[in-house]
Symmetry: C2
Subunit: 287 residues, 2 copies
DNA sequence: TGCCGCCGATACCGTACGGGTATCGTCGCA
DNA sequence: TGCGACGATACCCGTACGGTATCGGCGGCA
């Protein structure tokens, strides 16, 4: 009964699906099945009911899940305390500077409160890097927004924000209840610079190549719309400056608020941050 | 940072000696050194100072030791709770029926108090089996007395009891302050039956082959001495019946009170019992 | 009813890591 | 200065943990 095995078990218990749990663990399904079977042998009781209709926890499995969660949590705290004693307890958190999430700063504070000995460094990026420097190794974990190229990263969704078209308040579309992408086909859209994540770029351009001014930050987007007669996409729940309007776009998938980190990073500080973030969003404290 | 590695670390930190720690872990020294080095790499700091004068903990190592002890303890409690949920939490404890240790029953009670869900079975043996059935697999752990054949067992010493010659109160030796084995060379000694652990048998006969009546239990020993004019060895701290006397034997090593279990048994119930026993004897609550 | 797709289990394989033995380097001590 | 103690290093080997390919059972659907 090693910690790794318990992490496997918790993943399966969370997903109640061997395939998805294996994906979350960045491994294939057969070794996971085998590991769980070995754990069941060691415990001497079945932990899951594998019925055709799905996987469910047995009573013994429920007990183990509770215990395993606390043990894994304590194991992470052990690593954090030791790192603090060694003077190496530091984490760099990236935030996307879209002002989309007033909870970001609050999240950093919550983290500092939970781990006072840890040095928390903040790195805020503009809209040209949705990974906030994750790919470049500049940050350990990012609280940001999708979609972007996720290769080499692990991503957890926290919330989904519907998006709308950002237009001038005097635009003909400004009064509409909703618009479709087709309504915006002939407009100029703001663009992100060359080299910006292609998935991200494509999303905010509604999936089509566009013409328009190059911008890097939220303020620039607004200015582009106000001054150049271009349009763009933004979040419905954004507060907009005077002179601008947002019309719901009904044929665009929402933009997901996510927490992301480099795949295979076992840094407990990162795990702890992810846990705090998920809990905070689940409890709705950042809405 | 798996639990196994932390157990290695705790062993080295306990012994402050790689060789002895390896012996306690039933492994050789090189892999242990390597594992500790890997752990140090993972932590990012040295855990031990290897100076020629010996091994000592670094400050970071001291923090890890404290944290690791509690984590390992919680891991054991996890296994116990899960076993209790699975209905398989049971331990059989062997006691040597020499009445030598009034703390034995108290120890079992302390254990039941600590783990109420665990079924604790007691097996008390006579003097013909100092392992209380460990070798035969009849018990999981034994609170007993040395020396005996320790092959296949792990033994921890709890206390050392000096021994003396058990004689009739009217024996010429009864008044002496102390005796030597040579003083007893021509006496009849009580014997344990054929098949009794040879190390044990030899010890209680002062290391020499003897002639005399065969006995199995403490009462029989006393009766043999009282009725047949034989002698024997016993513990100095025993209360003796009227008509008997005990004279300190100055050239016999003391008999060690030990807790023993089968080598390689990772049953957390056993580990927990051992921990409770060691703590109880260290605190002197059973003297 | 027969086909397909989903999903966990099984079979089998390669590699990496954790165990072993042999030996070295260094320091204290007689 | 030689020897013993002890941790580190070098090297070897088996196992166990990862992978891919495939099976078996069940449910949905035409």
């Amino acid at each position: 009964m090693e910690l790794r095995t318990l992490r496997y078990f918790v993943a399966v218990a969370d997903e109640l699906h061997f395939g998805r749990a294996a994906a979350r663990l960045h491994m294939s399904q057969p070794p996971l099945s085998r590991a769980i079977k070995q754990l069941e042998n060691e415990v001497g009781a079945a932990l899951f009911d594998r019925s055709p209709s799905g996987v469910s926890l047995t009573p013994v499995g429920a007990v183990l899940l509770d215990e395993a969660r606390t043990l894994l949590d304590q194991a992470d705290r052990l690593r954090i305390r030791v790192a603090a004693a060694a003077g190496t307890a530091a984490i760099t958190v990236g935030f996307l500077g879209d002002s989309a999430d007033p909870g970001a700063a609050r999240l950093a504070d919550a983290y500092r409160r939970r781990h006072p000995q840890v040095e928390v460094r903040i790195r805020e990026t503009d809209l040209t890097d949705p990974t906030c420097g994750l790919h470049a190794g500049l940050v350990d974990v990012a609280l940001t927004r999708g979609p972007f190229d996720e290769t080499g990263l692990t991503v957890r969704e926290l919330r989904a924000d519907p998006v709308g078209a950002l237009v001038r308040a005097d635009d003909p579309l400004a009064g509409r209840d909703s618009v479709k992408l087709a309504d915006l086909a002939d407009r100029r859209w703001f663009l992100f610079p060359e080299g910006t994540d292609p998935v991200w770029q494509s999303y905010w351009n509604g999936g089509a190549p566009r013409e328009g001014p190059v911008v890097r930050a939220v303020q620039e987007c607004r200015q582009a719309v106000l001054w150049n007669g271009t349009i763009g996409m933004t979040l419905l729940n954004h507060q907009q400056a005077a002179g601008l309007a947002v019309v719901p776009l009904i044929d665009m998938p929402p933009s997901r608020v996510v927490v992301a980190w480099n795949e295979g990073d076992t840094n407990p500080l990162v795990r702890s941050f992810v846990g705090i973030a998920i809990a905070a969003y689940r409890d709705g404290r950042t809405h």
